[in-house]
């Protein structure tokens, strides 16, 4: 009785203070009363479904594969006649150099790992256009969630060789304080959340982050309109979190762009073992999400699609968009993988020769007369020098203080953590020859309370 009375009061108060401006985004079924012989039924689960008297199952094969949008073909020739570059030649050259930077850094770091100077590395060869092209048309304040093969986003947003190397060597310059494996970059200045290894977990987070941005603008119209972009591979799209993310983004109308890098492989698993539908793009439609498939080796197609997607994501108070960028993983999955154990070397060589985002843009630039062999050599030499310099500096840099291993678990050190820190300090004092504390900033002194 008590509870019912209270609920009554709450309801009455609700009526009095019903918010005035907030539009109700609730969907309700149409009226149950239908004309006799109506063509449509009002089942709440599918409002616009017409009756049919034909028993027919929809077969995936009866639908053509979604087309792949491209602007420039593999010879660097423009195939979309309506296309006009929207940036200056200098800007194009900058993006080109960003792609080359990433590809050179990949080669150097892959070898460094092979020499045992780095614990782990993942290259993004063949996929530079997806990250750099999309990043280049997003606002710097748009929030990013990455999977791990998006070095290009960090480069395009302004990370230097020094910053990459700080994370890769887990030294004291690493914003992540030496806690994550190499390639798990993160930057507050660039508005990119730190990368974590579990696949697809970033996708529902991106939906929630996009909802937060939408709410902040709803509560204060002076707040700048922003979107969230989330990258993932076609393998990660098999995770439950992909499903959760797209469904929540659609039902809550979140301004988020999901960018799938479909590069044909998830470690050793070819897409044939990953899914049987028409790639990832065909799923977007099922969630009620505007979707496009693009040629991921064509930076212009990536730019045009992402630019338009951003515009759409901010329409009507916000909505999600899905982009599936088709590419090929030219490299091994990681330094812990030898991909020739599961695919033919000739297939890889074929892709390298036939189509590559860097050579494609280079051909376009050469055709336009803004790039040539001399400039290419100069650019490659200077980028290589910059990376090697940062590499050797980073290798010599100290690691973060040992204390950092206990910090940031909670906002403040808990009693447990303080006690454990003291316990570790005692061990280091007692067995100094068993530990190499000199490579850490401040040695064991950082463990003092």
């Amino acid at each position: 009785m008590k509870s019912r009375a209270l609920r009554h009061v709450a309801l009455r108060r609700a009526v009095l203070s019903r918010p005035q401006a907030v539009p109700f985004a609730l969907r309700s079924a149409s009226s149950l009363s239908q004309r006799p012989n109506s063509d449509f039924v009002s089942f709440p689960g599918a409002l616009k479904s017409a009756f049919t008297t034909t028993l027919k199952f929809e077969a995936p094969e009866s639908y053509p594969a979604l087309p792949t949008y491209r602007v420039v073909d593999q010879h660097g020739a423009v195939v979309d006649e309506s296309f006009k570059p929207d940036i200056s030649d200098e800007e194009v050259i900058r993006l080109y150099k960003d792609m080359v930077f990433i590809s050179i850094m990949d080669l150097i770091m892959f070898d460094a790992q092979r020499q045992g100077r780095l614990s782990f590395y993942m290259v993004s060869a063949g996929e530079e256009a997806v990250s750099i092209g999309s990043s280049s048309v997003l606002d710097r304040e748009d929030v990013m969630f990455c999977q791990y093969r998006e070095q290009g986003v960090f480069k395009e947003r302004g990370w230097t060789a020094k910053e990459f190397m700080g994370q890769l060597f887990a030294n004291k310059r690493d914003p992540g304080r030496g806690r994550s494996m190499p390639v798990h970059y993160g930057s507050k200045e660039l508005n990119i959340h730190s990368i974590s290894s579990p696949l697809a977990t970033q996708l529902p987070q991106a939906s929630g982050a996009a909802y937060a941005l939408k709410m902040q603008r709803l509560q204060d119209p002076n707040v700048k309109p922003r979107v969230v972009a989330a990258f993932f591979g076609e393998g990660a799209a098999s995770e439950g979190d992909f499903h959760a993310a797209l469904n929540i983004a659609a039902t809550r109308s979140c301004p988020v762009i999901f960018i799938c890098r479909n590069n044909g492989y998830a470690i050793s698993t070819p897409t044939l073992d990953q899914y049987r539908g028409d790639g990832i793009a065909s799923r977007g439609i099922g969630y009620g999400i505007d979707t496009i498939r693009i040629d991921g080796n064509d930076i212009w197609a990536v730019r045009e699609a992402t630019k338009k997607a951003r515009e759409m994501a901010l329409q009507d108070g916000g909505k999600p968009v899905l982009i599936e960028a088709m590419t090929y993983r030219v490299s091994h999955h990681s330094t812990s993988d030898d991909s020739f154990a599961y695919r033919a070397r000739v297939e890889v060589e074929d892709w390298k020769r036939r189509d590559n985002p860097i050579t494609r843009l280079r051909k376009w630039m050469e055709a336009k007369g803004i790039w040539d062999e001399t400039k290419e050599k100069e650019a490659r030499d200077s980028l290589r020098k910059e990376i090697l310099k940062a590499f050797s500096e980073a290798e010599r840099e100290k690691k973060p203080p040992i204390r950092a291993m206990f910090e940031d678990v909670y906002e403040e050190l808990t009693e447990d953590l303080k006690a454990q820190m003291a316990e570790l300090k005692e061990m280091l004092d007692k067995y100094p020859e068993e530990y190499d504390v000199a490579e850490y900033e401040g040695g064991k002194d950082s463990l003092k309370p």
Binding site: S3, G176, A212, E415, D416
Partner: protein
Amino acid sequence: MASISRASRSKMGFHHVRRFASQATKPRRLNVPIDFAKTPLLHHSRETLSQTPGLPTDGPSTRKNLFQSVNDALRTALGASNKVLCFGEDVAFGGVFRCTTGLQNDFGPHRVFNTPITEQGIVGAAIGAAAEGMKPVVEIQFADYVFPAFDQIVNEAAKFRYREGKTGGNVGGLVIRMPCGGVGHGALYHTQSPESLFGHVPGFRVVVPRSPSQAKGLLLSAILESQDPVIFMEPKILYRAAVEEVPDESYTLPISKAEVIRPGNDITIISYGRPLYTCMAAIEAAERDRPGLSVELIDLRTIFPWDRQTILDSVAKTGRALVVHESMVNFGVGSEIAATIQEHNLLKMKAPVKRVAGWTTHTGLAYEKYIFPDVARVYDAILESKDY
């Protein structure tokens, strides 16, 4: 499930003892239902509010049950900060346990809303929203269904601040609420108390309130003050059963701080949530039967990181300890507390630390009353410890 908890409330009124003509009618002494209208653990009048440290005593108060006080806390938080969002399955109409009643009407469908049925999605979206500065208070309909979100909780939310490091990124505004614990007939999937699983994961604060006034203060603290993500487990059997005076004003109670509910000298009982009522009844019976016996009762309140000092100080004084909880005894909260006590108080102990907890089984429907610690088991443990 609202109907289940309503049913359990109606059962509360009866002593479930079947009597047959051929049997002697020997009334039960220990395992009788808790009389929530009389238990000293609840503030039946305003006068006792001052006995609980941290509760405001000056302003007005209202009799509320646990779901009403959770609702009060959510309403207070939504009113205090426009960063607070409430979402989960079926929260829009008020929630299956009525905890979010009226909130969508009052704060709009953008701040209080339903999500699709996806626990990993709910927690994942909450992490993203918190990372962008909001304070999402999300609901997992039953603690039994938190496991699909385990990856997001363990690998993502718990490690978020740690891996972000100097970027300062964190999910401090995140609170995950979930009804937990036995309800008499919840069987395998409407009964579980997974707090010890969360206790094995650094990064979260795990809170279990025992009463309406405590729930309000702890929940407001979790939402408005905690810079760490919080898992807030609400014993669902108390949603309607526990009714007490709850101060109307906004107040907070400290997280990671235990409360000595009842001082004593001979034995320390450490528990949290619903079993505290069982412990209280057992203590009253034991002290009645053993004149001079004096038992100290401590409400842990926060399971992790827990208040070691309060427990160790108490056990150093009494030399005997029992830990009581519903969830399975093995690797349960009691194991951690017992290990800590022997590590720090070994020479002060007069008896082994005893764990009175759920058996190492699942909560089969017909056997629930045998699985959870009841008054008789706690009573027996008190005497065994004393007589050791």
